[in-house]
């Protein structure tokens, strides 16, 4: 872009690695150079290591090996406060503002002093607003503002702290088109003014439009690092997708397309923006929902399961209509692996055996009233054995388990209850590579046993490795219905981004 990459180096990462003691390696030697006054784009699939990279840079987590240099000097920030003091501010996707305070008070929230607002603050606020090029009423309550404006206040907050480098994590993910414009314009304006940005986004058009330089992360490595001017969408997509380390072979003919229709969904809509979603899943079929953050994947699953009370539409299992509540759905034969296994899937203070037996407690109990603890424990022991859950035993607590093992416990909750329809929401999120492969194997096994499976997954390579059919979800609708055998990951990424049609057999629904 205009500012070019001429400035001196503000932030430099040299061979940074980050591994967690549980065996997960998030970063495998990343080199990164951010020049003063530039807008540096950071892209990559979910799980590529972007968030970990930001956490390391902003002092939330220490790096394992390698070093971080700030304005030429090696730095060892041990807390986000240190980084902030040095001039590095991070704006997270979920903007942490105090909703009950005014814009002015939020911008100067961290300023010490006895007064909530002073005339100097107002003067400074006006000056910052002018730099930003976006008018905000200093006295308006933040709670009443749209998300886009809150992003602007977060930027003002960063500027008020004297930030030289602002890291923005998915700033536009939840914004409307108009709000997106405003944020992008502000970034450009401030960059021209000398502020440096690291801009993380899933929207490649945005990246190409606004950044000077792009780094693509994949599997914890910086695989592409070039000036934006030399790039186009095709190259970016290829770099993002690449060849996955996780070599789950493309299952030849995974799932069947000939079974009876087990799950039929008609005209699902939600208040959160899902509109008119209809599809069916046959026994033995794995239908993948492919979409970006906020595309409505999870919302669709929530609506089908009845977890979203406001959802409308009809769901039938084997021809029988299903009531609109999780309880009715479980009775009708649904198994549900929720997106956030800690908040939604597990009881962290209860032992594994109580967790596992919960959905099927009635059947496991004498006269549906008296739970048979011996049998529940035996069931948990069986699950630990069969799924290879690393735990001290049925009495272990879920909070003691690693992500992958905890996820297997969530699967175990439904596995022995013989549920014909499985809804899986990001079952491999936050799971190490080994457990990931095991979970995908389990999903295939379920399909081969004749279950109907709906799988939402943001890792498209993974999705294609198990799915029979892929539904591309965008803006709360099903945009495409594709045969998983005839679509590539690159095409899927393009379609999910809304970048024209792939070459596969594309059916607009």
């Amino acid at each position: 872009m205009t500012t070019g990459a001429a400035g001196d180096v503000l932030l430099e990462l040299r061979a940074v690695t980050k591994s967690f003691p549980n065996g997960t390696t998030a970063l495998r030697g990343v080199d990164l150079v951010v020049r003063r006054g530039s807008v540096h784009g950071l892209v990559g699939a979910n799980g590529a290591g972007k968030s970990t990279l930001i956490k390391c840079v902003s002092g939330v987590q220490p790096v394992s090996t390698g070093s971080i240099h700030w304005a030429g000097e090696e730095c060892s920030w041990s807390s986000p406060g240190d980084a902030q003091a040095a001039g590095l501010a991070t704006i997270h996707q979920h903007v942490p503002l105090v909703p009950t305070l005014s814009a002015l008070e939020n911008v100067f929230l961290w300023r010490r002093g006895p007064w909530r607002s002073t005339p100097q603050m107002r003067v400074e606020f006006d000056r910052l607003v002018e730099r930003l090029g976006y008018e905000i009423d200093p006295d308006v309550q933040v709670a009443s503002l749209p998300i886009g404006t809150r992003q602007m206040i977060a930027i003002l907050q960063a500027l008020a702290l004297g930030a030289e480098l602002v890291i923005m994590d998915e700033p536009t993910a939840s914004l409307s088109e108009a709000e997106r414009r405003i944020v992008l314009d502000a970034v450009r304006r401030l960059a021209a003014d000398g502020t440096t940005f690291v801009f993380i986004s899933h929207f490649l058009d945005e990246i190409l439009e606004i950044t000077d330089h792009v780094t693509v992360l994949r599997d914890g490595r910086a695989l592409l690092d070039e000036p934006t001017a030399t790039l186009d969408e095709g190259r970016l997509v290829q770099a993002i997708a690449g060849r996955e380390l996780l070599a789950v072979e493309r299952a030849g003919g995974a799932g069947s397309r000939t079974g009876d229709v087990l799950l039929d969904v008609t005209g699902i809509g939600t208040r959160t923006g899902v509109r008119d979603v209809s599809f069916h899943v046959r026994a033995g079929e794995i239908v993948g929902l492919a979409g970006l953050l906020g595309s409505g994947r999870s919302e669709i699953l929530d609506a089908i399961f009845g977890a979203d009370r406001s959802a409308t539409g009809e769901v039938t299992v084997a021809g029988r209509p299903v009531g609109r509540s999780p309880r009715a759905a479980v009775k009708a034969g649904f198994a549900y692996v929720p997106e956030d296994r800690v908040q939604q899937g597990l009881h962290p203070a209860e032992p594994l055996w109580k967790n596992i037996s919960l959905p099927d407690l009635g059947r496991l109990s004498l006269r549906r009233l008296l739970p048979q603890e011996q049998e529940e424990r035996a069931l948990a022991a069986r699950a630990i054995d069969e799924l290879g859950i690393v735990a001290s035993g049925p009495d272990a607590l879920p909070s003691e388990l690693s992500g992958g093992n905890a996820q297997k416990v969530v699967f175990a909750k439904w596995l022995y209850a013989d549920k014909p329809v499985w809804l899986l929401d990001e079952p491999t999120a936050g799971v190490d590579v080994g457990a990931k492969a095991e979970i995908l194997q389990l999903v295939r096994r379920l399909a081969s046993e004749g279950k109907a499976i709906v799988l939402a997954c943001s890792d498209f390579d993974e999705l294609l490795s198990v799915a029979t059919r892929v539904l591309v979800v965008r803006g709360g609708r099903i945009a495409h219905d594709l045969d998983a055998q005839q679509v590539t990951e690159e095409e899927l990424i393009m379609l999910a981004h809304g970048l024209g049609a792939g070459t596969g057999e594309v059916v607009h629904v």
Binding site: F20, N46, G47, S51, Q343
Partner: protein, 425 residues
């Protein structure tokens, strides 16, 4: 049942069973310590023994109303809610019953009172669960409004039942006394039965029984049986104390051994996970409120039964005593954790403190201060114990696995956390 039985908590040879472990049963030890201190104090000042059959009978009788209420309050707390209204509901139940007795007779009026209590509980539950207003606010509202209702229907005057058949029926609700057999004898029989049960269980499971686990209760049981003719300890239980004990045993059994109990704990422990596992979370929580309201009305009528009258300001603040007792018993205010038996011990502590002050002739002025301090100290100990427990589990496990389980460790979380906020619309 198959032959292969999972060995239940192997290696717990002579160690204390988990439910007797100080971190689980602290309140029981605290109660024991309190009784010992009071016993020594009474003995050293030349007063009659504190742990006399008479005094034990008195304490149980004085605990009964609180004890009944603490059971249902604990159930509401376990379900993850909060009920401040029970003191007013109890007074309302009593006022309804006594007020309607002239026209409906005792049984009709009693039934209406219980239904009224259940109705207020239902209102609380429905407004909290289906409208989605915080339970603290809703029940603070009913606490105030129902007390106002009591003042309206009584016109601010004490309602008294005239002597007659109805008065007798009311009295009969709490009229009988039941003298227990010699408790030493009972304890001896109980210990022998425990020993026999352990042998039987081990043989059924085909495992060898551990000698100390059988021998210790057996020897103790024989010793108690032998001593029972010489040592006699009988307690005179009032009818309200019997109500309390029956309710505690019943509730403890339901919570511990039935699917209803299991699902109630699941509901309070993680409502969203329970809901997504097919548990009817709303229904469980509403039922807890209904139960609490009904029990409150029952307690109110019991309260009025001895005097045959109810003062419209009676039982004021009773809900706070019940909550204090539940907290003393280790019930979590955030749900999913608690035991009615331990809550009852909490109630016993509060009553024993008051009773001890009377027996020792200490100024009643100090009572409130001591109770408050005891409550805060107990809560502090629970909090510290919990923190230590968490620290231990963090040390035994890898601290960095935590971010992995709280979301996506290496990338941004989903835009809209599914179901967040769906629990309370």
């Amino acid at each position: 049942m198959s032959e292969k039985v999972v060995t239940p908590t192997a290696g717990s040879g002579s160690r204390l069973p988990t439910w007797l472990h100080p971190s689980n049963a602290g309140v029981v030890y605290a109660f024991a310590a309190l009784v010992v201190v009071l016993s020594i104090a009474t003995a050293s000042t030349g007063r009659p023994s504190y742990v006399s059959p008479t005094n034990v009978s008195n304490i149980l009788d004085q605990t009964a109303l609180l004890g009944i209420l603490v059971v249902t309050t604990t159930i509401v707390l376990i379900s993850g809610n909060f009920d401040l209204s029970v003191g007013s509901v109890a007074a309302f139940g009593a006022a309804t019953c006594l007020g309607l007795m002239p026209s409906l007779g005792f049984y009709g009026a009693f039934a209406v009172a219980l239904l009224a209590g259940a109705g207020i509980g239902l209102f609380n539950g429905v407004v909290v669960q289906y409208v989605g207003i915080n339970a603290f606010i809703v029940t603070l509202g009913t606490l105030t409004a129902v007390r106002g209702l009591v003042l309206i229907i009584t016109d601010g005057r004490t309602v008294t039942v005239p002597e007659g058949a109805d008065r007798d029926a009311l009295r009969a609700l709490d009229g009988s006394r039941w003298v227990t057999p010699n408790l030493y004898l009972l304890a001896g029989i109980g210990l022998l039965a425990l020993a026999a049960w352990r042998v039987w269980r081990a043989q059924r499971a085909g495992t060898s029984w551990r000698l100390p686990r059988v021998l210790v209760p057996a020897v103790l049981g024989v010793a108690l049986l032998a001593a029972s003719p010489a040592m006699v300890f009988t307690v005179r239980l009032s009818q309200r104390a019997v109500y309390m004990l029956v309710l505690v045993v019943l509730a403890a059994w339901v919570l511990r051994y039935t699917t209803v109990g299991r699902r109630l704990y699941a509901t309070g422990g993680n409502a969203e996970a329970a809901r997504l596992s097919g548990v009817a979370v709303d229904r469980y929580r509403v039922m807890a409120f209904v139960l609490n309201g009904t029990a409150a009305a029952f307690v109110g009528v019991l309260y009025a039964s001895r005097l045959g009258s109810i003062n419209p300001t009676g039982l004021n603040g009773f809900e706070l005593t019940a909550l204090a007792a539940a907290i003393l018993g280790g019930t979590s205010l955030f749900g999913g954790l608690g035991s009615v038996a331990k809550s009852l011990v909490g109630a016993l502590i509060l009553v024993t403190l008051a009773n001890g002050f009377n027996v020792l002739n200490l100024g009643a002025n100090y009572q409130g201060l001591i109770e408050g301090v005891v409550l805060i100290v107990a809560a502090g100990m629970y909090t510290i114990a919990l923190r230590r427990k968490q620290r231990v589990s963090l040390r035994t496990v890898d601290p960095t696995t935590k971010p992995a389980t709280t979301g996506h460790p290496t990338d941004a979380p989903e835009l809209t956390p599914a179901g967040a906020g769906a629990e309370r619309p």
